[in-house]
């Protein structure tokens, strides 16, 4: 008998989310980007549509980054200047998006004011034409002030702003709703909390196609399999018609991968693991690559070489495999 290709027919699809506001929509971005929209599991082009490729956002911090030395070295000429840094990521490394982390707002750190943080974001907006993702410093109260201000001052730019969490979502969700930005909803590796949070945010009036799920991944070797399986379940939920799980997914790849000593450790005692200069970027690229297989739509990354590898991996996977 001749083999007949086994095709799944899913009843629903992943929401298509637009990132970045252009002149037509009241923003200043050179172009907008779309993510999501898949009607099948990752890269099974033969049975469904994969209309948008995953996008890579490179991370820029507003203060000197607290990164392991070998990673930080990659940006030594720019890490004190977020604007130059962002430009380098776009011009040289072809980042699709810039991921601005406002660590400077940290009350225990530089304690920058909401106005100062907004000024940084605005200057990056002026310097690059790509859409931006903005994240706070992690202090809930301060982030609400800072992100509220950024959302207001950058109305029309359709930023992606995070993070909304189960205990703290109202203020940031309201800011995204009023000023028309996209929201990142973060849940700690828990599909039920993930759904709950999406419902809460949606009930406030934010449309489902302006929400992105951050499932809070673990890095390679440190619990990535939990994230992998949660993401597979989220994606399957979307395809099977669960509207509350139909959002595209964002993964904090750079942050998690570079926490592993396998990525940054150098020197004699780690010789059995080979050279750090290869191992490090590959650790980050592998973290991204595996999560792409689970349905990741937006990858927040750091190392230029890792970015390059994942760009190649994505372009390979976007080739048609129709029978």
């Amino acid at each position: 008998m001749a083999f007949e290709v086994v095709k799944e027919r899913y009843m629903s699809k992943v929401n298509e989310v637009v990132l970045g506001g252009t002149a037509e929509t009241g923003g200043t971005r050179g172009h907008a980007l779309k993510v999501g929209g898949q009607t099948t599991l990752p890269y099974l082009h033969f049975e469904g549509e994969v209309p948008n490729k995953p996008i890579i956002a490179m991370e820029v911090t507003d203060v000197e980054p607290n990164w392991p030395t070998p990673l930080k070295e990659m940006f030594k000429d720019v890490y004190n200047d977020p604007v130059a840094w962002a430009k380098k990521c776009v011009d040289e490394y072809k980042a699709d998006v810039i991921y601005v982390v406002l660590n400077g707002a940290d009350p225990d750190g530089a304690n920058k004011t909401p106005e100062e943080c907004t000024a940084t974001v605005k200057s990056i907006l002026e310097a690059v034409a790509v859409p931006l993702i903005i994240k706070g410093c992690g202090d809930g109260e301060k982030d609400n002030e800072v992100l509220g201000k950024v959302a207001e001052e950058c109305a029309g730019e359709n930023l992606m702003i995070g993070n909304a969490e189960q205990e703290n979502y109202k203020s940031i969700a309201a800011a995204c709703m009023v000023h028309k930005h996209t929201l990142i909803a973060l849940s700690p590796l828990d599909i039920n909390i993930c759904k709950q949070l999406n419902i809460l945010v949606n009930e406030m009036g934010l449309p489902l196609d302006r929400i992105i799920i951050d499932p809070m991944i673990g890095g390679l070797g440190y619990g990535i399999e939990y994230a992998y399986s949660i993401m597979e379940r989220i994606r399957m939920g979307a395809l099977q018609g669960d509207k509350i799980l139909s959002m595209p997914m964002v993964c904090t790849v750079g942050y998690e991968a570079w926490r592993a000593k396998e990525a940054y450790s150098d020197g004699e005692e780690f010789q059995s693991w080979g050279e750090q200069s290869f191992r490090g970027p590959l650790w980050e690229a592998m973290t991204a690559g595996t999560l792409i297989q689970a349905g990741a739509d937006i990858l927040l990354m750091r190392h230029p070489q890792a970015v390059k590898l994942v760009q190649k991996n994505i372009s390979d996977l976007m080739e048609s495999n129709k029978y």
Binding site: F3, F278, T290, M318, N321
Partner: protein, 445 residues
């Protein structure tokens, strides 16, 4: 894959004679489906029905063994498409391609590199599995290379040749090693199948595409050989992903017998880092063997780490032994950290304690391999349990002080724990990432 009672009923003689026990054929079929009786109790069942039912009760993907002794690699025998549905059972075999054109010194060097590919991280040991010898020249050279490699490694072997005469010589050269013979194609399959039968070795089957693969497998199984490993012939990342998915899906969901075998995929990218990214896709999506060219440690470690992660049983978290762990050159004044025996939790803490540069003790309390908050919520990380652990594990004999550091997330336990244990409880940071700063301010590193 079990059949339903109705599917079995269709294959029965429908005499309703009752000789099998149950009064009707339908009732017998229901008992068979529930595995309460066996088919041989029916004296009238046809041979076709026996074969169909036998095949249906066989596992959807055959278990194939490559190699011999304690380095035998088991492939296939998987039952799910998603690890969260159950688990993936047999980790992808990692093979390294070595061409027979290498001279003696190069070959020795290459084998040395491959043999040294063993890693230790977070309490786990990773190893690679196979050496794939590839023919590029004549039979004599291929045989010589196989001989050298056979003598130089304990890993299992793959013989890559489509020439039957060369294959036979190579098989003679590594008798007893049970290599994977790769392989059979549309042009040579009958001779290769005879050869595989003669030496009783698993046979790789390579076709032009997935449809040709299906045809070729049927021809080979018609010759009576079923020790197979499949290759659809695709080499582009996207097509290989699709083909591997189809083979796995057809075998499991449709019980499609020609695809009920393990698979092999070849990473082809020139750049070794791209090659590993490609191998990652194949490993993630069902390949039973992945063949690589690069042998550098820094490239292989990330791939082996992902393999270990992916093949971890989702229902059985990896645990560390509950005992006193020493990080650095500890003394009687060193601090004592408490955590749980969930491997991930323990190694997160260990990594940060190591990073703090303060020699310390770590005690992972047995929580059946659950994380701090999970264990706490389930009542497995209570003041009583922790107190009992501290007082039976013997830490009191190791340190002069009586202070223990509790994970910040369970600060609420501190009062009761002090009372139950008699130790002073210090509330540490909530995240392990906060340990270096905590240790610095408290112990002045």
């Amino acid at each position: 894959m079990a059949l339903t009672g109705l599917e079995i009923y269709k294959l029965l003689p429908k005499k309703n004679c009752g000789e099998c026990g149950p009064p009707t054929c339908l009732a017998f079929a229901m008992s068979l489906a529930a595995a309460k009786t066996t088919l041989d109790l029916c004296p009238y069942v046809s041979d076709e029905a026996k074969e169909a039912l036998g095949a249906a009760s066989a596992p959807p993907i055959k278990l194939i063994k490559i190699g011999s002794g304690d380095k035998t690699v088991e492939l296939g025998d998987e039952t799910v498409l998603f690890r969260h549905d159950k688990t993936f059972f047999h980790p992808t075999g990692i093979a390294f391609e070595v061409e027979d054109s290498l001279n003696d010194a190069e070959l020795t060097q290459k084998l040395k590199e491959i043999n040294e590919l063993e890693f230790d991280r977070v309490g786990l040991h990773y190893e690679v599995d196979m050496v794939a010898v590839k023919q590029t020249a004549d039979a004599a050279q291929f045989k010589a290379a196989v001989q050298k490699i056979e003598a130089g490694t304990k890993l299992s072997l793959v013989l890559i040749t489509e020439d039957v005469a060369s294959a036979e010589q190579a098989l003679e050269a590594c008798k007893g090693r049970n290599p994977l013979l790769y392989g059979a194609t549309a042009n040579n399959y009958s001779e290769m199948t005879e050869l595989a039968k003669k030496y009783s070795v698993p046979l790789g089957v390579k076709a032009e595409n997935i449809f040709a693969l299906s045809d070729l497998v049927e021809k080979i199984t018609a010759l009576g050989y079923k020790e197979l490993v499949l290759d659809s012939g695709a080499r582009g990342t996207s097509q290989v992903l699709a083909d591997l998915t189809e083979v796995r899906r057809a075998a499991i969901k449709k019980k499609y017998r020609p695809f009920g075998y393990p698979t092999v995929a070849f990473a082809t990218a020139e750049d070794p880092m791209e090659e590993i990214m490609q191998a990652q896709v194949y490993l993630t999506k069902y390949a039973s063997v992945v063949v690589l060219k690069t042998t550098a440690k820094h490239f292989v470690l990330p791939l082996l780490t992902w393999r270990q992660n992916l093949y971890t049983d989702p229902q059985k978290p990896i645990q560390v032994e509950t005992k006193i762990y020493e990080v650095g050159n500890v003394t009687a004044d060193s601090p004592v950290y408490l955590t749980t025996n969930f491997s991930l939790t323990y190694f997160s803490v260990e990594g940060e304690v190591e990073g703090s540069k303060v020699p310390s003790y770590i005690i992972p309390v047995d929580t059946d391999g659950t994380s701090v908050l999970t264990a706490w919520a389930a009542g497995k990380y209570s003041a009583e349990k922790i107190a009992e652990a501290i007082n039976t594990i013997g830490i009191a004999d190791k340190v002069n002080h009586r202070e223990i550091i509790l994970p910040g997330y369970v600060a609420v336990l501190s009062g009761k724990l002090e009372e139950k244990s008699g130790w002073k409880v210090i509330v540490g940071p909530r995240e392990a990432a906060g340990i270096p700063a905590f240790a610095k301010s408290r112990y002045g590193a």
